[in-house]
Each structure stands twice: as C-alpha cells, then as structure tokens.
C-alpha cells in the first residue's frame, strides 16, 4: 500500500460538512455479484481468483475515479488491514483470512472503496462527510453503471440484485449515517430515539457497525430492508425526514443542557479535556469517550482554542492500528496506552 497516503485524510472526519455538528458521515453501500459465478462463500479458490481478475479489470480500467489504488489484501500486513478497518474502508471480516480478495480505494480522498470477494463479489461504498446522501448516491450510482457496462450483474426481475444473503436482495443498498449524539445520551432521551428507529425498521449500531458497542456516543443509523422500496425513496426518507429529525432532537437536547445544566456540561467537557491533556495512560474506549465530550464542547462553544479538525483526527489516530503505524512498530496493549496518551497530549498541547 502506498506510504504516501496522508495519515489523517478521512472524508468522514472533515470538520466543515453539512450538519457536521451532529452528522459525521453519510455512507452508501451497494452489494453486487457478477453473473455466472457462485457467491463468494461457495466459490472455489480458482473462481475467486477469476472474480478478482474481472473486478480488477472493471475497476481499474473503468474510470471510476481520477486515481484508484488497488490493494490485494494478501499482499499487505495485518496491521495495514487493520488500518483499513479503522478507516471504514474494509470490514473486519474482509481483513481476515487468506482467500483471494482485495479492496480498491479512490486516492487520496478515500470517498470510494470497493471490497472484492467479501460476502458478495463487490461491495461498493461511497462515503461523504456530514449529511450528503444524495451526493453520495449520485457518485455511487455512476460507478455502479460503469461497472455494469463492462460486466453482467446477477439480477432477477422479481428479486432485483441477487446477493449471497437474502436480507440484502433487491436494491442491495445499505444507507448508513454516523451520528454524534452526546446531548441525547446525557439527557437520557437516546432510548426513545432508538425505539423510534427500531419501529421504522432501522438499525442502530455502534462506531464500528455490526456487533460493536456505542463508544463515545457515536451511532450508526442504517436501513435493514432492501426489497420493495426504490433507492431514491429510501434516501429521501433518510435525508429529508429521519436524519433531520434526529439532528433536531440532538440540537434541542444540547441547547437545553446549555441552558439548564450548564455547569454539569462544562464540568464534563473540561474534565475530558483535562484527562486528554494530562493522562499518561489512555485506553482506546476512554480516549473516544473523552474526545466525544470535547467534540460536544467545541460545537457548543464551551471550549475554546481546540480545533474540531484536531479532535476528529484524534478519533482516528488513537485507534490501535493507526497508533502503531504512526509509531512504525507493533506494540503491546500496555505500550499502546502510553503511546496513545502521548499522541493526544502532543495534539492538544497538554503537559
């Protein structure tokens, strides 16, 4: 993988995006399979190699983005694979194993990533900072068209795009919005939002998606059904109704915290800043939790002199694989805690 890649550029951590105080990123994923091959789970090694070849040809010659980097996952270290997971460019599952598989990433913006031979032949993903689902969809739709102009997808008129798991069949689309909801968490209203989301058959997940806990009050909201509703209807629902509602509630909760519990809020935020500036040992979850409070403080003007961009970058840099890559060597967990605290102090001007 290219060493030239700037270690901090991640689309979803940009500070100046639409609704960026609450919405970290908008992500769309399409599950696609080539006609004429078994799905990945049942494909033999030789099939997988062929799928990889076809995908590589289509992706690298299709003009999908100005510059696309092809990463054969068997040719990079497990640390590099973990870095990709932390950057939300591949799934945990895709980082594992030794089967022929790859990921293509648009360079340097990392907006586009295509996992090849994950659960489906192709998992195309486009990510944008803040709330910009329509922008993400326009891009992914074009990319999908370009690939489809070169190879046939498995498709049926009844079930739509055919996927390995029937829960993805139809549009094969997964819309996912990463939200920062510390206000709702502090005011104890988060459960209400979660219940409402579940009622609309939306999934609420943690920072790292399926099976991960919500650390630092970051949540992913995504659709669970893919059949019977067009992409545009789903997106409109997300962008015009669901997400704005949650954003509104979160802002309301934040405002009410400011007005009614200002001291408590300030205390939380400044304690977090104190910990981040002076701790000598930091666990990954603790760092994320404290950064979450700090982010809230900056957005509410409770803290001055710390840039949102710095906090956003630290969210990524304090992850285990990023830390090790920065330090240029593997580290034990105890070593990482020291290193994490050091990196955070350095970025936040602590002592």
């Amino acid at each position: 993988m290219s060493a030239a890649r700037p270690p901090t550029a991640a689309e979803w951590l940009r500070p100046d995006s639409p609704e960026g105080d609450v919405v970290l990123s908008s992500r769309i994923r399409l599950a696609r399979n080539f006609a004429g091959f078994p799905f990945v789970g049942r494909a033999k090694r030789e099939d997988r190699r062929q799928i990889l070849q076809i995908a590589k040809r289509d992706i690298m010659q299709g003009g999908l983005a100005p510059e696309v980097m092809w990463v054969d996952l068997n040719e990079v270290s497990s640390l590099e694979r973990s870095v990709l997971v932390e950057r939300h460019l591949i799934s945990k599952q895709h980082a594992k194993g030794d089967e022929p598989r790859a990921v293509a990433i648009s360079n340097p913006d990392e907006r586009l990533s295509i996992m090849v031979n994950e659960e489906d032949h192709l998992r195309i993903q486009v990510i944008r900072g803040g709330l910009d689902l329509m922008g993400a969809f326009t891009q992914i739709d074009e990319i999908d068209d370009k690939i489809e102009a070169m190879s046939d997808y498995a498709f049926s008129s009844r079930f739509g795009y055919l996927t390995a798991c029937p829960t993805n069949v139809g549009t094969g689309i997964r819309v996912s919005v990463m939200l920062h909801l510390p206000g709702l968490k502090l005011s104890g209203e988060l459960e209400k939002v979660k219940r409402a989301a579940n009622g609309m058959s939306l999934a609420v997940r943690g920072f790292y998606g399926e099976g991960s806990d919500a650390v630092g009050d970051f949540f992913q909201l995504s659709n669970q059904t893919t059949l019977g509703k067009s992409e545009r209807d789903l997106l409109e629902e997300f962008e015009k109704q669901i997400v704005p509602k949650v954003v509104e509630y979160e802002r309301l909760a934040r405002r009410s915290l400011l007005e009614k519990r200002r001291v408590i809020l300030e205390d939380r935020v400044h304690r977090a800043l104190g910990t981040l500036r002076h701790a000598r040992l930091l666990k990954s979850e603790e760092a994320l939790e404290m950064l979450s409070f700090l982010r809230l403080g900056i957005n509410l003007g409770v803290v001055e002199g710390v840039e949102l961009a710095t906090v956003n970058n630290l969210i990524l840099l304090t992850q285990p694989a990023h830390l090790q890559r920065l330090a240029k060597h593997d580290m034990e967990q105890s070593e990482r805690r020291v290193e994490r605290a050091t990196v955070v102090r350095k970025h936040l001007g602590g002592g």
Binding site: G36, A149, D152, F159, S230
Partner: protein
C-alpha cells in the same frame, strides 16, 4: 391454604361442584377417598409430557412439507442454506424460490418484488444471464477436462454473448430505461 379432604385428614386434590335444583354442592376429597367414591383419578402426568404432546398436536399438519432441493448450479441444499445463512449462487434464488419467498417477505417487511434500479442491459435480452452462466460453466469444465479446442470455441461464444454490451448500451441510451422511482407523474 390447602384444603383438607372432607372425609380424612389428607389434602384434598379432587374437587367436584355439583349444582342440583339450583343448589350448589361442593365436594373436596383426597385421591384415596375419591377412588372409593368411584372417580377415575389420573396419576399426575409430567408437565413436560403435556407440553410435548401439545406442541406436537399444534405443529402437526401446520408444517408445510419442506422440499429437499439441491441447486443444480452450485449443489447447495436448502438445509445448508439454513445453517449458513447465505446462498450458494444466483441460481439458488430460482431453485429455492418457493421456500425463500416467505423468508424474504418476512425479512423485508412484506415486500415481495424489487422496486428500483435495474441493470441497463438486463432488459435487453431475456435469458442472457443464464446463457452466460451456462457458457462459463461449460468453459470451466472444458478447461478442467483439458479439452482445449472445445474451450476455445466456448470462449469465442462467450465473447460474442458478452460483447454487444456497447451496442446494447447505445440502444438503451435512446430509450432511457426507468431507474429509481417507478411510474410517471400523471
């Protein structure tokens, strides 16, 4: 409070209420006295037996006969699918359509048919996907069997089927297929 038998000191476990000429007569006796009175008392059946019998009677007949199918294209059985949660190949959707339909409907909140984007080329010629699938499979078999002449012929056929993509696209461009939301605003 446990009730004593009307006749002895044992616990009353058999209870009878008789209403005769508008008058209620209750009788509470123990198992032994009940037998003497001519009641047939069933020994307590274990609750688990009762539940089992109940469940069996409920599920009998209701269970639709599950077809034991095997996908002709990839060899996956429905049992394997149920175990792994993923299908073997695109053809599995046809092979197991009957069983899958209900499952898909449940997973997608009652939806049974796709609405939304479809590949531009899919509408072009029916059976094209199946043709490509068959050809690829035959080609693969030919190569494994080291029948290279046959393989070359199959490859050419495959190219012919796959190639008209560009022309097909040009045609599709003029009659823009519907994408995204269906239907037109009247």
């Amino acid at each position: 409070m446990k009730r004593k038998c009307d006749r002895c000191d044992n616990e009353a476990t058999v209870h009878e209420v008789v209403i005769r000429n508008g008058e209620k007569a209750e009788k509470h006796v123990c198992e032994g006295c009940a037998r003497e009175d001519g009641f047939t008392v069933h020994a307590h059946a274990p609750i688990s037996d009762l539940i089992t019998k109940f469940v069996i009677s409920q599920t009998k007949g209701e269970k639709s006969p599950v077809k034991v199918g095997v996908c002709g294209s990839c060899g996956l059985t429905f049992a394997e699918f149920k175990q792994q949660g993923v299908l073997g190949c695109p053809e599995c959707y046809q092979t197991f359509e009957e069983q899958l339909s209900a499952m898909i409907e449940r997973a997608h909140e009652g939806a049974t048919h796709h609405i939304g984007k479809s590949p531009k080329r899919a509408g072009g010629s029916a059976g094209r996907h199946e043709r490509i699938t068959t050809l690829r499979k035959q080609l693969h078999d030919a190569i494994t069997a080291e029948q290279y002449e046959r393989a070359a012929a199959l490859r050419d056929q495959l190219l012919r089927v796959e190639k008209p993509a560009a022309e097909r696209e040009a045609a599709a461009e003029s009659s823009k297929p519907q994408r995204g939301r269906g239907g037109s605003k009247a």
